[in-house]
Amino acid sequence: MTETIGIWIAAFLTLCMFSFLYKDNPFYKFAEHLFVGVSMGYYIPYTYYNAFIPYAYNPLFLKKEYILIIPFIIGFLYWFRFSSKYSWVSRYPIAFGMGMVGMGVPMSMHATVLVQMRSMMLPLDNINIILIFIGTISILLYFFFSKAHEGVYGKFTSIGIWFMMVGFGASFGYTVMARISLLIGRIQFLLGDWLGLIK
């Protein structure tokens, strides 16, 4: 019974959302606002019980791990965002966070730059590698703006544009697939779980 009620509510809200395709209306607005409220309503207590209690409250107050006072205070400083006078205090935990990001720079350089560059330096022994090589060089040169894109150089950089266009086309095709997949998912729900037309 509970499941049936849930399915009917979900179906009603799905139709409310789809009604926007005709035009903006109160049903759409209602579903939109409800979604935002429910998301936050779910997120806040879930995080409180699964993040704050086990990782901050229990170790600090029950297990007496007082070293956690330091990150506790750093985290608490974020609350100064709500004070117009003392909002500058919240920059300290942000600065600390940026320092943590800095820790990842060497490994990030390794994974996203060095290893990727190494994969460009392979023997040009098949058509795929040759295409990747030409594509990489021509696109990199296209974004080199200290020399005018004229003559042979300009023609070569325009090959880079073609490579990028193919890339954008592939991304667009995938994006269409993604959006249609979401529609298919909802229709499968409406026809299957709600109306029982497909099993």
Binding site: G104, A111, T175, M177, G185
Partner: protein, 315 residues
């Protein structure tokens, strides 16, 4: 109004209705289009399958997605779990998003009901939700000791006491980390876990991000990937024709459509359940819609060029 004007100014609601029909009709009257498997999906399947029957190897599934992308990613979740349960592959699941934890529960219970012999904490272990801020320490800590880094499973039990952890120590016991993601594209795992500990990483992504992973596949930093509904459909098929029939993976056979079709005829009843075919059924509608969109693009361009020619003539 001229033809060129008319097709340039079609009411978008008419297009929506046509699109809706293009989705609904193939779902109701199944077309059964063939699914061809591609290298990134086959590589992931082969990689996971290599851990079959081994007590000291597991795969780690990171559910970094929320309900908004379930239509694309949930069939992947089910297909990979079914593959593991069918082939006796140990599975760890974790989520650093609150919503992901609920999806893990849903996926595990949905697949587990068809595999009554599979036991929690013996054949699989759900690490549950861990706050996002703990992702880095857990990721790095698992390189030394998984039980120490993760500490507890979703039920609050200490990992070190669980039977599944007997032969599991660190990333040496992780065959592959599969991040099923609606946003982060497995970058964290590549940057920290792979770069530092050399663990293999693969991803299951929404189609929007699928094109972005190819450079990483080419460099070998991802051992495989599932891109959107198509990737899920391919994986469903591989599970059906190999795992469900108790066969070892063979790329040559996977690409032989006559052989694939023959395997479909011998499938057990379990493989024919709707929930395990959802991505492939969805791909029927997807194919029709793609043809429709191509048709609309061509039609729109014809209208545009006719209109431009008419404008040039009138000048």
């Amino acid at each position: 109004m001229k033809f060129a004007d008319r097709i340039q100014k079609v009411d978008r609601r008419i297009i929506y209705v046509i699109l809706l029909l293009a989705v609904v009709l193939p779902l109701v009257f199944r077309l059964g289009f063939k699914t061809y498997t591609t290298t990134p999906v086959e590589d992931l399947y082969r990689h996971i399958d290599a851990a079959a029957g081994k007590d000291d190897l597991a795969i780690l599934m990171d559910f970094t997605h929320d309900p908004g992308v379930l239509p694309e990613l949930y069939p992947m979740d089910l297909a990979i779990l079914r593959h593991c349960f069918e082939r006796n592959i140990k599975v760890f699941t974790i989520s650093f998003l609150p919503q992901g934890a609920a999806i893990i529960q849903m996926a595990l219970s949905e697949v587990k009901e068809d595999y009554p012999n599979i036991e929690a904490n013996v054949d699989y272990c759900n690490f549950g939700f861990k706050p996002w801020s703990t992702k880095l320490p857990i990721m790095l800590g698992m390189g030394d000791d998984i039980a120490e880094a993760v500490e507890t499973n979703s039920e609050g039990l200490k990992l070190e006491n669980l039977p599944i952890m007997q032969n599991m120590k660190n990333y040496d016991n992780i065959q592959v980390v599969v991040e099923i993601s609606g946003s982060s594209m497995g970058q964290f795992w590549v940057i920290y876990a792979r770069a530092k500990f050399g663990v293999d990483v693969a991803v299951g992504l929404t189609a929007v991000m699928a094109a972005d992973v190819y450079p990483y596949l080419q460099s070998g930093q991802f051992v495989g990937s599932l891109g959107g509904l198509k990737g899920a459909a391919e994986y469903e098929q591989l599970v059906d024709i190999f795992a469900m029939n108790g066969l070892e993976f063979s790329k040559k056979k996977a690409r032989n459509m006559a052989w694939v079709e023959a395997q479909y005829e011998e499938l057990p009843e379990l493989a024919q359940l709707y929930k395990y075919n959802k991505a492939r059924i969805g791909m029927d509608a997807q194919a029709i819609v793609h043809v429709l969109i191509i048709f609309f693009i061509i039609l729109g361009n014809i209208g545009y060029f006719l209109d431009r020619r008419a404008q040039k003539k009138s000048m």
